[in-house]
């Protein structure tokens, strides 16, 4: 009996799968990936389909099913935030430098420290990057294939989760900024940067957002 055949017999009805996804996601605080759901559900289940049903079921409810990158989670509806005072956790105040650095990483990712400094026109302090890393809002991306092979930074799923974003593509105003050329890495005219580097940089940026 092949997997295909077996799944026809064994997989629970989709309504039951929906219940299962509901239970698993309700029990978790952090988003659960589709792959993880599949692992935890009986053989032959299709969590993606169950998620689609479930999402529709919770539309307009007090809690909503939201997507965070490749994962899913239940979150309370934002319009009811005022009822939750009791649950509010005191958030650490981010410095202006940290907020700007975060925004630059989110919109320009993958981005090197030198590029962040070029955009802000000022050195990025070690502490700023450390704080964002510690909060798990950013992480190291691939090294840039330019001389010195500098590390790059990208935003994490935790970041997406915190700001209620399905993916980095959903950053507010991203399209307009890109259309206006404001996400380009334009070097100072006459500077020593070789054109090949530039091209690679550009492809790196678009790569992440186009998939």
């Amino acid at each position: 009996m092949t997997d295909q055949e077996r799944s026809l017999f064994d997989a629970p009805p989709i309504a039951e799968q929906e219940r299962m996804v509901e239970a698993i996601l309700f029990a978790a605080t952090e988003p659960v990936t589709v792959a993880d759901l599949k692992r935890r559900m009986p053989h032959g289940c299709d969590p993606a389909e169950a998620l689609a049903y479930l999402r529709r079921r919770y539309e307009g409810r007090g809690v909503r099913l939201v997507r965070v990158g490749d994962a899913w989670a239940f979150r309370t509806a934002p319009d009811l935030g005022h009822l939750m005072q009791k649950e509010v956790v005191e958030q650490r105040k981010l410095s202006r430098a940290a907020i700007e650095t975060l925004a630059i990483i989110a919109y320009h990712q993958p981005v090197t420290r030198a590029e962040i400094e070029e955009i802000r026109g000022v050195a990025v302090s070690r502490g700023t990057i450390d704080q964002l890393l510690e909060m798990e809002w950013i992480r190291f991306g691939r090294r840039r294939m330019t001389p010195g092979r500098p590390v790059t930074f990208v935003v994490t799923e935790t970041f997406l989760d915190h700001f209620g974003l399905e993916s980095a593509r959903d950053l507010p105003g991203l399209k307009d900024l890109r259309a206006a050329g404001l996400l380009d890495n334009r070097p100072l005219p006459g500077s020593m940067q070789r054109p090949e580097d530039e091209e690679e940089d550009l492809s790196g940026q678009t790569e992440l957002f186009e998939d």
Binding site: F26, A28, I99, A103, R120, L188
Partner: protein, 264 residues
């Protein structure tokens, strides 16, 4: 905007604006670098950043730096580097272009500065929009009482045939070289002697012969005796070096005596 317009506007600059400029200086610590300062200065032009007069901006910046100097405010090096660059840019913008000169034109450099300012401004706005979004733990919330997911952890030990063969090869190899492996039975190492003496040295309040400190069972067999004497001798030298004991020898080949060093 022509230069003459700009001069006219400069003269029109109100007292309050001049006061604001002074406030800028006093607040120099509040700026996150020269680009940030330029962006603030550019706001006084009240135009779209794409139509900004870089020449006017350069003037404003240089004016700022001069005022700071007059007030004896120490400016960080990067502010001065920017000032030097803007002074250069200003002269290039004012002089007719020199066709023999190579490299980017003054207009290209000015356009790039405008681009940098516009990009920084755009990132500021993006950051503000990001922070204005609904945030987890402030506007929307996660499950407050997560249910425990029990982890049934099964440890499965594995090894490959290669591991097994390597292990065996390692053992057999050891065997083949057996003659060259020191026979540990008759070897007393310095580490062992050190370890041993460390526990005993407290009792050596008065001078005593090193040989009396040799371990039991190590004085009959000559090989064992030699090894243990050598090890203990090396160990007491080490301990003397550390200042834990004192050593003395009355004469060449006389017995070596040791004594605990009293801590002062």
């Amino acid at each position: 905007m022509s230069d003459r317009d700009w001069v006219a506007e400069q003269q029109d600059q109100s007292v309050s604006e001049r006061l604001a400029a002074e406030a800028l200086i006093v607040d120099v610590d509040g700026y996150e670098g020269p680009l940030d300062l330029l962006l603030s200065l550019s706001r006084t032009q009240k135009v779209d950043l794409r139509r900004i007069s870089v020449l006017q901006l350069a003037e404003q910046y240089l004016g700022f730096v001069n005022k700071a100097k007059a007030l004896r405010i120490e400016l960080a090096a990067d502010y001065l580097v920017m000032a030097a660059w803007l002074a250069y840019l200003k002269s290039r913008l004012l002089l007719p272009p020199d066709p023999s000169e190579e490299g980017p034109s003054a207009e290209d450099l000015a356009a790039h500065l405008a681009f940098q300012l516009e990009r920084l401004q755009a990132m500021r706005e993006a950051a503000a929009r990001l922070m204005a979004r609904d945030q987890r733990g402030r506007d929307f919330f996660v499950r407050g009482h997560p249910e425990e997911v029990t982890r049934a952890r099964t440890v499965r030990y594995t090894a490959s045939l290669i591991d097994l063969m390597r292990a065996y090869a390692r053992l057999r190899t050891k065997d083949e070289f057996r003659p060259f492996v020191m026979d540990r039975d008759h070897v007393f190492t310095m580490e062992q002697a050190l370890e041993r003496l460390r526990g005993l040295i407290g009792y050596a309040a008065s001078w005593s012969d090193l040989e009396s400190w040799l371990p039991e069972g190590w004085d009959s067999n000559p090989m064992r005796r030699r090894s243990s004497v050598a090890a203990h001798f090396a160990a007491v030298l080490e301990m003397a070096k550390r200042g834990q004991i004192e050593l003395r020898q009355g004469d060449t080949f006389a017995p070596i005596e040791i004594r605990r060093k009293e801590s002062e």
